[in-house]
Structures are given as structure tokens and as C-alpha cells.
């Protein structure tokens, strides 16, 4: 198989800018923009990056470095202003947990909805239902509206759906530290399992220890640019060294 050498994600000289002073959404604001364009802020500037099939890559960097923008571009929630993004394979993103959840629906109903949004078929969602409920550890509460859940339980349910959606590419943003100790270790197990089964992963986290266990490669972003890209231990050391000398 040549699968191990094919690229799953390719960023070619990608730039993405957001205009500053957003929020003026009435007609007046649009006329104003048209007359006098606003300044923009580059979330990513000229970023090139390849992620091969089966690779597990950590994205590190301070807040506002462009990590989330990079994930959003990969899922096609938004599009680059310059350059191109190519993604091959089904993507499942754990970006903000509980995005499509509604508090008046039961856990079960939210589970089905979330599963369909993640791209599961009706049949597959039915098959995975018990596995997901079991994994989440919600138990009989699954039949109650999720407004009765604790916030940890909602996150556990959302995360359980996301990691069972059989994607080829899994994107994880800052959400690995969900739930209690027992659930966290289950999540960690599941991620390792996905990694061993050859899924491509892109993880964002501020916990270097966790990333070191999850990923083999790290990309360090700052101010929208790639500062370093290489073996996880080296990049994390360099990043931490810099953070320390700075502070």
C-alpha cells in the first residue's frame, strides 16, 4: 500500500485574514466598509504544511497563534484568502463540544442528532448507539433532557459521539481534558486506539505531556506563521524553552 506516503492534508501558502472591528452587521456598517475598508488581521500568513496519512500532529503555540483557524480551514468551515487547502478523506472535528445540542432534547435524541451531523448513516448510528452510551458513562440519564445534566456529562456525551464517528481524519481542539479521571483515561485509550488503527490526527492542546503521548510530530505556530515543525519532543522543548526565557 502506498497509503502511508499519501498526504491527507496539504496547506499551500495559505493566508487567512479577518477584518478588525467586526460586529457591525446593519446596513450602515456595510456601506461604511465599502467606502473605507477596515484593517485586517492575519490569522495565518503564508502557511505551508503537509500531513501524511496515519500521522498524528500536535499544533502548539500561544493563544491567537492561528491554531484554531488552521483546524477550521481543514474542516472547510471557512476558506483561505490566499493559497489552497486540500483535504483527502472524511473529517470529524471535535472543535467545540455540544455545538448542535439542544437542552430540551434527551441525551438519546441529541446523540442521534450529533451522530448524523458527524456524518454517520442512520444504520451506523443505530449500531453505535449502545457503544457510545456505554463509553460516555451517562447510564440511565440518557433518557433525560440534557438540561438536567451536569456540564461534564454533556461534554462526555458530545465527545463520545465524536470519537466514534469513524473518520479518516480526526481534529481535536482543546477538548481532551473532558470529564473526570476515569473518563479521561477512557478517552486517552480511545485516541490511542484510533491512532494505532491508522487515523490521521491533528490535535490542539496546551498540555505538552498529553500531546507528547498522543502525537509524533508537532507544528509550532505563532502570529499565524510556522515557527518550527518536527519531532514532538524537539518542538515542544524549543517552545517551552522560549516560553520560559520570555517569562
Amino acid at each position: 500500500m502506498t497509503a502511508s506516503t499519501t498526504n491527507r492534508i496539504v496547506f499551500e501558502k495559505v493566508s487567512k485574514a479577518y477584518s478588525l472591528g467586526g460586529g457591525r452587521k446593519l446596513l450602515r456598517g456595510h456601506v461604511g466598509d465599502w467606502l473605507k475598508p477596515r484593517q485586517s488581521f492575519f490569522a495565518l500568513r503564508d502557511v505551508s504544511l503537509q500531513v501524511r496519512d496515519g500521522e498524528s500532529v500536535a499544533l502548539i503555540g500561544p493563544n491567537g497563534a492561528g491554531k484554531s483557524t488552521l483546524l477550521n480551514l481543514t474542516t472547510r468551515l471557512c476558506y483561505p484568502d490566499q493559497g489552497s487547502v486540500t483535504v483527502k478523506g472524511r473529517v470529524s472535528a471535535v472543535l467545540e463540544l455540544g455545538g448542535g445540542f439542544h437542552s430540551d432534547l434527551t441525551g438519546e435524541e441529541n446523540l442521534r442528532l450529533a451522530a448524523s451531523l458527524q456524518g454517520l448513516t442512520r444504520k451506523r448510528a443505530g449500531e453505535l448507539r449502545d457503544v457510545i452510551v456505554e463509553f460516555s458513562g451517562i447510564g440511565d440519564f440518557i433518557r433525560e433532557p440534557i438540561r438536567t445534566y451536569s456540564s461534564g456529562m454533556v461534554l462526555r456525551l458530545a465527545f463520545s459521539v465524536a470519537v466514534h464517528a469513524d473518520p479518516e481524519i480526526l481534529l481535536i481542539d482543546e477538548v481532551i481534558a473532558v470529564g473526570d479521571q476515569a473518563f479521561q483515561s477512557r478517552c486517552f485509550e480511545r485516541m490511542q486506539e484510533l491512532r494505532r488503527s491508522g487515523k490521521t490526527m491533528l490535535c490542539v492542546s496546551h498540555s505538552p505531556d498529553l500531546l507528547a503521548k498522543m502525537c509524533d510530530r508537532a507544528v509550532w505556530l505563532d502570529h499565524g506563521q510556522v515557527i518550527a515543525d518536527g519531532k514532538i519532543s524537539e518542538v515542544v522543548d524549543a517552545y517551552q524553552g522560549k516560553t520560559i526565557t520570555r517569562g
Binding site: 452587521k25 468551515l77 448542535g100 432534547l105 442528532l113 448524523s116 458527524q118
Partner: protein
């Protein structure tokens, strides 16, 4: 690329709307019927007691106008807000965005079904009976839904960029109440204004419903092709606007 199951997502989103709306209400589905029935009673009172109309079976006559109009205004107004209201979904889940306005219109269609059942019950109750032209009902309703879908796709996409859109829609709905022949008949409209009604799919649907249900006749062919033409044109325009604007929804929500 999102490669999920469109019908499964749509089913879940429509069910979600339906359940949320009715779970906490003791009268449940009855609320779908209450508004058109109250309007029907008020208009019937006014046009049989205050300004007596020569129209026989006035309740059925006015219901043929109210139900399409009601569906249209609710679907259009709520559909225009759908992307902004579901901003978390649009910004966080990589589903094809067009699913959001489609599910919003389909949610309204569930109420429409209940209301159509009431309309048919009234028609039969007033002694009009079932006729073979009822077979045309799905066709005329189909064009109405296509029309609303086009309008909702276009307006919802514009609403993301210009949040004033919803007020434009609300005002347009007030005007349309008078420009759709809800409580007056097509025959009293001067000929030179006929085109306004025939090319307006809501008005055309009202006229077609009355022909089919009350006169047991097929709607004129000229009316049908104008209904089809304007519905399909609006759908195409809405689709085009949506596709053009959806690339930057993320930045504007």
C-alpha cells in the same frame, strides 16, 4: 468534504424543532391549528356580519387563503433567521450549510400538513366533497414549497451579512396580507392587476386551491404555468445567492 446522510440529518433537525416546540405545551399540535382557525372566525364574522360578502361558504373560502398565507409568512420569517439562530451549528459543524434553511422550511411543513388536513376536513364538512382534481393538490403545494425554499435560502444568506433583512421580511409579510386574495375573490380584481396575482406564487396557490376545492374544477393552465415558472425562478435565484454567499458565513456569524 462532508459525506454524511442528508436525509438522516434533515430528519433529525426537523424532529428536533418539532419536539422542542411541543414537548412543553399541554395543547401540543393543537397550537398549529389555533391561529388559522381564530383568523378564520374573525374574518368570517367581519365579512358575513359587518361587510356582508356574497361569497358562499365563507369559512372555507377564507381558509383557502389563510392556510397558504400563514405557512408562507411563518416559513419565510423563521427561515430568514435560521442561519443566525443556528450560528453555533454553522460555525462549528462542517455540514453543508444549505441543510439549515432546508430543515427550517421542512419544519414548517410539518405544521402545514396538520393545517391542510384541517382545510380538507372543513371543505368536506361544508359539503364540497372529494373530486378527482384533488390529485392536483400535491402539485400546487409542491410549487409553493419550492418557492418558499428559494426565498428562504436567499433571505437567510443575506440576513447573515445584513441583519436588517428580517425587518424587510416582516414588513413585506404585512403588505402581502392585503395583496394575497385571502378575504376577497380574484373576480373583483380589475383585469390590469391580474398579473400581480398570477405571478405571485402565494396568490396563485390560493386561486388554485379555491378552483380545486370549491369549484371542483382544474385551475386554468395559464395560472399553473405562471405558478411553476415563478416558483422555479425564485428557487434558482435563492440557490445562486446562497452558494455565492455561503463561503463567508463563518466570518460574518
Amino acid at each position: 468534504m462532508w459525506t454524511g446522510d442528508y436525509s438522516f440529518v434533515l430528519q433529525n433537525l426537523v424532529l428536533k424543532d418539532f419536539k422542542i416546540r411541543y414537548r412543553n405545551m399541554s395543547l401540543g399540535v393543537f397550537w398549529s391549528l389555533l391561529n388559522p382557525l381564530i383568523m378564520m372566525s374573525v374574518l368570517t364574522f367581519i365579512f358575513t356580519r359587518i361587510f356582508p360578502s356574497k361569497q358562499p361558504a365563507f369559512p372555507v373560502f377564507v381558509l383557502c387563503g389563510l392556510i397558504p398565507f400563514n405557512f408562507f409568512t411563518l416559513a419565510w420569517a423563521s427561515g430568514t433567521n435560521c442561519l443566525v439562530e443556528n450560528a453555533t451549528l454553522v460555525k462549528r459543524v462542517a455540514i453543508p450549510r444549505v441543510i439549515v434553511p432546508i430543515s427550517s422550511v421542512l419544519s414548517q411543513c410539518t405544521h402545514l400538513l396538520i393545517q391542510i388536513a384541517a382545510l380538507l376536513a372543513f371543505t368536506v364538512g361544508f359539503g364540497f366533497g372529494v373530486n378527482r382534481y384533488w390529485a392536483l393538490l400535491p402539485v400546487v403545494w409542491f410549487f409553493e414549497i419550492v418557492f418558499v425554499l428559494g426565498l428562504v435560502m436567499g433571505c437567510a444568506a443575506l440576513d447573515v451579512y445584513v441583519r436588517d433583512m428580517r425587518y424587510v421580511v416582516d414588513s413585506a409579510n404585512v403588505v402581502l396580507f392585503w395583496l394575497v386574495p385571502i378575504f376577497y375573490s380574484f373576480e373583483i380584481i380589475p383585469e390590469r392587476y391580474h398579473f400581480i396575482y398570477q405571478y405571485n406564487p402565494v396568490a396563485a396557490l390560493v386561486l388554485a386551491l379555491r378552483k380545486i376545492l370549491m369549484e371542483a374544477a382544474t385551475p386554468p393552465f395559464s395560472l399553473m404555468w405562471k405558478l411553476a415558472l415563478s416558483s422555479l425562478l425564485v428557487f434558482a435565484a435563492g440557490w445562486y445567492i446562497f452558494r455565492r454567499l455561503e463561503r463567508r458565513f463563518f466570518e460574518h456569524l
